[in-house]
């Protein structure tokens, strides 16, 4: 079926003008001169004789004139037919169908050929499908779904019957769509869609307009990803799937795939190192010297840092930048590459909570009021040196008896120094604290009974090795009349990385006379970080991760009783590095991916019930209220929920404390780091699927089709109109306007007699 379409359909209203010749004719009949006429008899005879002919002539002229007007209006309205291509044919089928179009608006759709993004091609294609469906008059309904927002779809588009105004409005909305910063979750989108049609038994058909990138469609082996295959199979039970391929070959593209801080906690006044990882997604090697990464911290923008070496395709390189925050509170860190084909993956953002200080709790098992006699004195001095130096650490010391789990609420790490024992419930509290991210450091001493420690901290029976102590302690004590020192580390571990490459002499400044032995078993998830230089190379420092938290075990004392570790050159830096390593991490420092909702638990003690979200300027930047929603699984608990984060950027939540103070909490949303991978999926396995077809829809075949595949008729119509006009003139002339007939020469009739 070839549908006739008009470039200026509104002109067709002018068809009313076609009645003009008829009206003029009728008016003309009413307008006449009057005159007396003597030769009426002849005239009447002529009229009777001519009547049929005159009527015929009049009718012919009238038809011609009407046709001229109609042709003129048609020509001005510019009708055309679109060549019957594969895309058009889909909308010519019989019966009513629920047509669903998934428009892939993932960020990779920004890539394209020339100046034209694949998304522009996809939009034009989608628009044309909607309008063609409208013109086909099949009465089919069309639902347009955006890959970035499968649940909401285009609000107005849910089951829009593609007719007239609706179709045009939908098409106009398509025109205004922009590429999102999210990736295309094919399976999730199809499943969400199918859920929407659970209760309907309508015949479905699905068009997916996508660039068909490997990242979205295939697994590592290049086969159709299992989830995608299954979701598509589920759909094909309801109808056919057509993949309209607007993808273009991969182009050069770098992306910042990761941005982290080296420190678990960021403290005002203390330098922190940030690491950005840049990946070469493109097909060609990139000279790192030409790649500049700009870091910005809050409002401070630093000079760009260059990459080193050459970045091969698929390779990742790191750049680091150190920065010292001056103000406490949340801060935005951003690493940015020069803008390329995909701007979304050129920037990565990170929210860090800058603290005034890390707070450590030192539980002293052997307190002594005299200076540097108690167990904790040296450690406290190392962590929080007296004077003006800013270490970023605040230390609180409590004696063993005063230790209470409530003290844990506000500290970032706990040091147990030569503690004799803790009651079971307190151990459990510490355990919960560590599992929740808290840090714990054991220093031993003469109050430590290995049997008690093993029982309370290591665990017994099934629990063995699952509690706080990284390893079991042994009764064997390492004693030396002389001393042992620390062996230079062999393990590459972040906590002790700074020790690597130090002169061995530095390690020899650590003199240890006594330590407690330990036994490492297979079940232990412990790592020995440092060893003593005794014969057995006994462990000196053992690390274990428990839940979110980290535990360190020193097998000797923190004071000078068993060792003169505090007096060594290593003590201060080592304690600081370890403190940073075990500190309770910043809870807000998480990577959020575009599309995921912002959920903030409502804490009545901290916030009022009203909050707003300020989205990134790309989507308005105007504060929007967010609502409290009761948790489904937990009645009585509420969350602030902000469901839509369609673009990458910083979303800031604003709220007031119960006291009325303004607070801000930023959230950084980044694009999925794999979205920058522009490699195309292999079309063949997709096309090989049952009831799935893949059609190439390039710019040439789709967009230019609007112009080139068109068959225009206005020239023909104008030509026809002109010939009709000429014919009309000729006939009108012929029909008596210019008749030259005269009476026959009368020839005087004179008779000669």
């Amino acid at each position: 079926m070839i549908a006739l379409t008009f470039t200026n359909p509104f002109i067709l209203g002018g068809m009313a003008l076609a009645s003009l010749p008829i009206i003029i004719h009728l008016l003309n009949r009413r307008r006449f001169k009057q005159m007396e006429w003597a030769a009426m008899d002849f005239l009447l005879k002529a009229a009777v004789r001519n009547r049929k002919r005159v009527r015929l002539e009049n009718l012919l002229l009238l038809i011609l004139r009407t046709a001229i007007v109609v042709l003129l209006i048609l020509a001005v309205a510019r009708p055309f037919t679109q060549a019957q291509d594969a895309l058009a044919s889909v909308f010519g089928s019989e019966g009513q169908t629920e047509r669903i179009v998934i428009l892939d608006d993932s960020h990779s759709m920004r890539a394209g050929q020339g100046n034209r993004a694949a998304f522009e091609v996809a939009k034009a294609l989608t628009r044309r499908m909607i309008l063609q469906l409208n013109e086909s008059g099949s009465g089919d309904r069309i639902t347009l779904v955006l890959a970035s927002d499968p649940l909401d779809g285009l609000d107005e588009s849910k089951g829009v019957r593609a007719s007239g105004e609706n179709a045009r409005r939908l098409a106009d909305r398509v025109q205004q769509l922009r590429v999102s910063d999210s990736a295309f979750d094919v399976a999730g989108t199809i499943d969400a869609l199918l859920r929407g049609y659970d209760e309907s038994d309508a015949r479905l058909s699905l068009d997916i307009v996508s660039d068909l990138r490997r990242r979205d469609w295939t697994d590592a082996d290049g086969n159709v990803a299992a989830t995608v295959r299954e979701a598509m199979a589920r759909f094909t039970e309801r109808g056919e799937i057509r993949l309209l391929d607007v993808g273009t070959p991969p182009v050069q593209n770098l992306g910042v795939v990761e941005l982290t801080s080296r420190a678990r906690a960021i403290v005002a006044g203390v330098p922190t190192t940030f690491v950005a990882r840049v990946k070469n997604h493109g097909p060609d090697p990139v000279d790192g010297g030409k790649v500049q990464v700009s870091f910005s911290f809050g409002d401070t923008r630093l000079d760009p840092v260059r990459l080193e070496g050459t970045l091969q395709p698929g390779e990742t390189a790191e750049v680091t930048q150190e920065f010292t925050f001056r103000k406490r509170g949340p801060a935005v860190v951003q690493a940015k590459l020069p803008t390329e084909v995909l701007p979304g993956d050129d920037t990565r953002r990170l929210i860090v909570e800058v603290r005034k200080a890390m707070r450590f709790l030192l539980v002293d098992g052997e307190p002594d009021p005299e200076n540097y006699r108690s167990e904790s004195d040296f450690l406290a001095a190392a962590l929080m040196p007296p004077g003006n130096a800013v270490s970023g650490i605040e230390v609180e010391i409590v004696p063993e008896q005063a230790f209470h789990e409530r003290l844990l609420e506000s500290v970032d790490a706990l040091f147990l120094l030569n503690v004799y024992r803790l009651p079971e419930e307190r151990v459990r509290a510490v355990e919960a604290y560590v599992r929740g991210g808290g840090g714990l450091v054991f220093f031993l001493g003469d109050q430590v009974d290995p049997a008690v420690y093993n029982a309370t901290f290591y665990g017994k029976g099934d629990d063995a090795g699952k509690r706080l102590l990284p390893v079991q302690l042994t009764e064997e004590e390492g004693r030396s009349d002389d001393y042992v020192t620390l062996a230079p580390p062999t393990l590459d571990h972040p906590a002790i990385r700074f020790l690597r490459g130090l002169n061995e002499l530095v390690f020899r400044t650590v003199h240890v006379r006594r330590f407690i032995g330990s036994r490492t078993q297979a079940r232990d998830e412990a790592r020995v970080l440092l060893n003593w230089t005794d014969e057995g190379n006994s462990p000196a420092l053992i690390e274990k991760e428990l839940g979110e938290g980290r535990v360190l075990l020193w097998t000797t004392t923190a004071d000078k009783e068993w060792a003169d570790l505090p007096r060594s050159l290593l003590f201060v830096p080592l304690m600081h590095e370890l403190a940073r390593y075990i500190v309770k991490p910043d809870p807000s420092e998480t990577t959020r991916t575009v599309g995921s909702p912002i959920v903030v638990p409502y804490e009545p003690s901290r916030m009022q019930r009203i909050a707003r979200i300020v989205p990134p300027v790309e989507i308005g930047g105007e504060p929007l209220p967010i609502v409290l929603k009761e948790r489904e699984d937990e009645k009585g608990r509420f969350d602030f929920r902000y469901p839509r984060t369609p673009v990458a950027g910083v979303y800031t939540m604003r709220f007031k404390t119960p006291q009325g103070e303004d607070r801000e909490q930023p959230f950084a949303y980044n694009m999925d780091e794999t979205e920058g991978d522009l490699r195309l999926a292999d079309r063949r396995p997709l096309a090989a699927m049952d009831r799935v077809s893949v059609q190439r829809a390039s710019e040439e075949s789709v967009l230019d089709a609007d112009e080139s595949d068109r068959t225009e008729f206005w020239r023909t119509l104008l030509l026809l109109m002109l010939s009709f006009a000429a014919l009309e003139s000729l006939l009108a002339w012929r029909f008596g306007h210019h008749s030259r007939r005269k009476l026959a020469p009368e020839g005087k009739q004179v008779f000669v007699r």
């Binding site: 006449f32 006429w37 004789r49 007939r741």
Partner: protein
């Protein structure tokens, strides 16, 4: 010489109906027509009453020596008198259709006025030759009349009758011609002015009666110029005269048909005339009057000749 020419050309312009229409009095009009016509022939009307040479006869004393043919005397050495066709006692009846249709006219003169002017001019010519003229107006019956007379008063009477008459009613040719023939008396010349909007069969019957009574008939079919050319363009409501209905029509589309019907009618009339050897002249009110007068004089000459021969 030049004065003569100037005079003659100024005289002949009165043959144009457009010029004649400016002269309101019919007697003046008739005089102008004749003067113009005769001057157009380049003969002086003063030279004599008869222009037709008939025969020679031998001079007898008492004859006017002005009429001696000196050329013949030169040849024959005898006096011969040129004998001209003497005034005959020609009787000429003008029959004027005064039906309503004759009132129609789009030019300077309507058909009746044109006919009356022509008739008056002819009467003027005839009276100058001392012929007897009379007039009869008719529509469905015979109306006003001026009896035959060769007195100049006849012209005056003819003109008065024509000027005082307003055309009305229908033409009824068969009956009126029959009636006329009854009363016309002995053989005479009958000049019939009419638009002949009547059935040719009626005409034929009427003419047959006239011919039967041995009248010589000159039929002058006077039509308005528009009736001959039908030049109308715009939508027109034609109002019928003589009790015919009205018609709204687009004239352009009717023109051919109309002219065809008219042609058929004229052909029929011509056939009737031809069958009875009647002179027929079609006149349009746009034609110069010399056409009528020439035809009339030719017809008169024949009548005179034939009557002389018979006599």
């Amino acid at each position: 010489m030049s004065r003569r020419n100037a005079q003659s050309s100024s005289q002949s312009r009165y043959l144009d109906p457009a010029v004649l229409a400016e002269i309101s009095r019919l007697d003046l009009r008739a005089r102008q027509v004749v003067e113009g016509y005769v001057s157009g022939l380049h003969k002086s009307p003063r030279k004599g009453y008869s222009v037709e040479f008939a025969e020679h006869r031998e001079y007898v004393p008492g004859d006017d020596i002005r009429h001696i043919d000196w050329k013949l005397w030169g040849r024959e050495d005898r006096w011969y008198i040129k004998q001209y066709e003497e005034e005959t006692n020609l009787r000429c009846h003008f029959l004027l259709d005064m039906s309503e249709s004759m009132r129609f006219g789009t030019g300077p003169l309507n058909k009746f006025e044109y006919s009356a002017t022509a008739a008056a001019a002819m009467a003027f010519l005839l009276l100058k030759q001392r012929d007897a003229v009379g007039i009869r107006l008719f529509d469905d019956v015979l109306r006003d009349t001026v009896p035959l007379s060769s007195n100049w008063h006849a012209l005056h009477n003819i003109i008065t009758v024509c000027e005082q008459t307003a055309p009305k009613k229908k033409t009824e040719l068969a009956q009126t011609l029959t009636d006329f023939a009854e009363h016309a008396g002995r053989r005479s010349m009958v000049v019939l002015f009419s638009d002949l909007f009547t059935d040719p069969a009626d005409l034929e019957r009427g003419l047959q009666v006239l011919r039967h009574k041995r009248h010589e008939v000159l039929l002058l079919n006077v039509l308005d110029e528009t009736e001959v050319t039908f030049p109308f363009e715009d939508n027109t409501k034609f109002l019928g005269l003589e009790e015919l209905p009205d018609l709204i029509a687009e004239p352009r589309s009717l023109r051919d048909g109309y002219l065809e019907v008219l042609q058929e009618h004229l052909d029929a009339v011509r056939r009737v005339c031809a069958s009875m050897r009647i002179d027929f002249i079609l006149l349009s009110t746009g034609d110069r009057l010399d056409k009528a007068l020439s035809g009339f004089l030719a017809a008169r000459a024949r009548v005179v000749r034939s009557s002389t021969r018979r006599g």
